[in-house]
Symmetry: D2
Subunit: 325 residues, 4 copies
């Protein structure tokens, strides 16, 4: 199939490559000429403007937008919308807020354009492992683009089959899914990331409890000097907590058990926050996902105003003066 692709960063470039490996024709654009040239060297048709896609792609066109920041995605989608022709499709494969998808799909549909939102998991490993995709939009359009998604997806691989899936969507086993109308792809990807925060925090807290078991202040005989790297590794085999995130923990700990190379400042992207907003809107208690988000907020501050307020009250009622320990 033919696909246009905008944004040749780590994700975008590899998506193009994985498609070409499987015989698709890809036209690419990026503001960075070098990035365009690199893909051209790998076999892509490089265009030097959004308008260039009109000529480089046969109608009905499909253009995949894979740019990092939300505001540039918006700008790109709107610009494309002004250039494309009736029946063409814009695919947003980035990490957009699903509300933006709902709005854009409605707007583009009034122009006769299609809009597909693809939540994409797989990060830097996707070129080889494939991309797990959650796809929102009109069924007919998603079906038409199926060859693209099939190529990008990991496929069934050597993952053990889930029983009783005969009546369910066969695409799920291949690693991609039509989740519903526009917005639903990014909604599912958003929750995926919310879960990811919770899983990460669960491991992190557990290792913290184990690591701190060697504190001098603990009673003798109740102190252990546990080996984080070996524990992460042993859990990868046959334990209930085995996972790909644990694999990553084991890789990191084998190299640097004290994690001395990490500052401890942890960023959050929008999905973790939006997941909590969705939970609140639905009145669904989401304690763990929220706690995982707040830990990251706290990690980026030296001290909070809240903590100082606690000290102020303690001074007030108990005469406690708190110093740095």
């Amino acid at each position: 199939m033919h696909l246009g692709l905008i944004g040749l960063g780590r994700m975008g470039g590899n998506i193009a490559r994985r498609l070409m490996r499987d015989g698709h024709s890809v036209a690419v654009y990026d503001v960075d000429a070098k990035a365009r040239q690199a893909l051209a060297d790998d076999g892509a048709t490089a265009v030097d403007s959004l308008a260039g896609f009109l000529e480089a792609l046969p109608a009905p066109r499909a253009v995949w937008v894979m740019v990092p920041a939300g505001d540039i995605t918006e700008k790109t989608v709107q610009e494309l919308a002004g250039l494309l022709e009736k029946g063409d499709t814009i695919i947003d494969g980035g990490n957009s807020n699903w509300h933006d998808d709902v709005r854009r799909a409605k707007q583009l549909s009034e122009q006769g354009l299609h809009y597909i939102d693809v939540g994409t998991s797989g990060g830097v490993w996707g070129l080889d492992r494939g991309y797990c995709m959650m796809i929102g939009g009109d069924k007919a359009v998603v079906d038409r683009l199926d060859p693209i998604f099939k190529t990008l997806a990991p496929g069934i691989g050597d993952v053990e089959k889930t029983p009783n899936r005969e009546k369910h969507d066969p695409r799920a086993e291949l690693g991609y899914l039509h989740t519903g109308p526009a917005g639903s792809g990014h909604f599912v990807k958003m929750v995926h990331n919310g879960i990811e925060y919770g899983l990460m925090q669960a491991y992190a807290e557990g290792f913290d409890v184990m690591r701190n078991r060697n504190q001098a202040s603990l009673p003798e005989g109740e102190r252990f000097d546990l080996n984080m790297a070996d524990i992460a590794e042993v859990w990868r085999r046959g334990s209930v907590v085995s996972s790909w995130l644990l694999d990553l923990c084991s890789i990191a700990l084998a190299k640097d058990p004290g994690l001395e190379n990490f500052s401890g400042f942890v960023n959050d992207s929008g999905e973790g926050r939006w997941t909590i907003e969705a939970a609140i809107e639905e009145a669904v208690p989401a304690e763990v996902l929220t706690a995982a988000l707040y830990t990251r907020f706290r990690s980026r501050q030296e001290h909070t105003y809240a903590e100082k307020m606690l000290s102020a009250m303690r001074l007030g009622f108990g005469g406690h003066v708190e110093g740095k320990q």
Copy 2:
């Protein structure tokens, strides 16, 4: 009445003074001779050893132990137990773990001694405001010591009367209460402190949310530069969140709205932790009390191992490198 008192720190000294003001005879002991002399100057009988109480107090004796640390309390109680005579009473007015009370009461009862545990709230303000007391132990002994507790308690004051209290314990209105058998006094005081942690954290978070409303990163028109001191003060009148802790916030903020004089390192004493252990033992979810405790744990670390583990995973799946912001 006659009372012996061990430990003339901030709390102990003022307890002795409040008792003497109301006509009680108090014999005092402290390892610090100066502290003993200061109370002697105020009218107390100072003894220079625990054994001295035997002569200074008429039988049956009552000796109030008011020493700060748990291990010194244990040592003092055990030493007293070896000196006192059948029918005498040891009162632990400190912040002991209630399990210790249960154990001690049982042990002392086998020697014919009585044991009373008094959870005392009021801190540095108690001399004038009185002490709110939660008292565990045998009813007969608590009743015999009633004049002591009545003097120490705040009394009914100008606090508005609660309706429908005719059938309830009249002591509660005066600010002291026999809560049940040994251990129950400190148990109730423990939960009191657990609640205190939760209340403090609720105010602290709220002020933090208001304080941070002036962040430059927020959209224009949605930024406010709110006055913390005035807000704390206005809430003291007629609002649902008025409380003594809020009074303390207002006092602190009037002097130092930025709380620049506080480091943000916040200590915790045992009661907050023991409250959570009790909750877990009872399978009672105590989200807020626990979160309040954990905030203090976090405040005393620069970065946790957990946070570094998060960064390690983020590097692993997304190539994210996190630096100090």
Copy 3:
């Protein structure tokens, strides 16, 4: 002063009465003719349409909107905006989302109208105790309406004075405050309610831990049958956790210590949710305020899908079958 007032429910009616008691002239409107008549009987000028205010009030007019639901407030404000004249003021005293205030103030200002948002705490007790008010809007307009706010506020009362307030806003001591531009009044009130959720949950959890200390499954000698009503009452005198909310706990427990009259279904109004959204927007960790909100969400469900998912996993890895206990 002259004031128009729309919405004669519990809050609105009492606001009108408190103003009239202090000599203000109040014109009132409500869709319910009986409610209008009741206020007319108490001395108000009752008008039978929004347009009626134009005649009943001298220019520049001030009309206070005090209707319960957000969508009716919006409708009323927009309708008033179409009727009022340049220089007139609309006051929203309900529990609007502060984003709506920001939007409305901007819109009305383009028409030459003023908009003031007043966060009002005091509930059913306000007629006698006065209303604690947080007021957002243009300084000149807030200053002009000062006599209204001064009458409604509780005044200095017998609340102990906070030291060092000489350089701060003297209105705060009287129980009302100009918090900043439009929206800031409801923003501060929103956080007030967020804190209120946290405080309530802290008490609730503490009483739950105490109440459950009589479980038969606990070891003998570590079980207590504690008296909730007496404990709430004793804490009202001299303890660190004394507060108005604790007064309410004591009132409720004196009447019904088992709280048998309450179902345990707990509603939440918007402010608790919006506080968390503001915290997330600011990247301020708000663990306690969030946990307090989630508890209410959970209280309104028999079982969550999440809990069933946990059971499904437990069956999967351990063969555990979970029944009702």
Copy 4:
């Protein structure tokens, strides 16, 4: 090697079978004669009393205790301790509290007996997949029993190798690990289960947020009817949240997407609670692991006393009456 095994439940029986499959000689005991016979039929030497192990096993003996409840484990260990001879070893493979291990190891060592604690993960799947084991105790004894552990462990399997593990313990890759002195095996297993609770809750909350996206109260166009079974399945391929627990979710959801067969009452075993106690002892904030535990507590109650207290306060300040929704 020769091994004695006590307790022929699901876990114990399969451990014996896996050992015999690999050529070890196993003597077994259980109070249930049928269970003994079943293992005898599979090739084990069945003994009909603990004392029977003395004859059935060559010295130095090793007896593995695999009984479900903590108090029976204690009784069995103490009884064995009275029967075994100097140099023999007791292995506790159950889910004991690690404090019990520390105590027992000390006690047995005074009798010249060895004590090994084995935290075992793998549940009902262990016979085929092998058991992931965390082993505490003296190095010499653990080394001597290595053939047993090696057989029980999953082995390297087809799990991808972690780079940079050359300098680390090679047993970890095989799925078993000597974690340190007595108690450390169960300590690590305890944290493993604590993490497991957190992971499970993260998935559960995420699916809850997705499931509830079809609520009628949500704005049209922002409602999705998402397919839980397909989403769980698609995430198994290439997504960041893939894990064995997710595999189990997918299996359960393929059969019963509404999870109608689950009541939602969720039990907790001791390890989740002990993990929190360890975290508190170490002053390590463990928000997510704690929230996951509390969710289970809450799931087992119809309504908490805490929730009723919230309603009581809401009635007090706002006149709110809360009914079942």
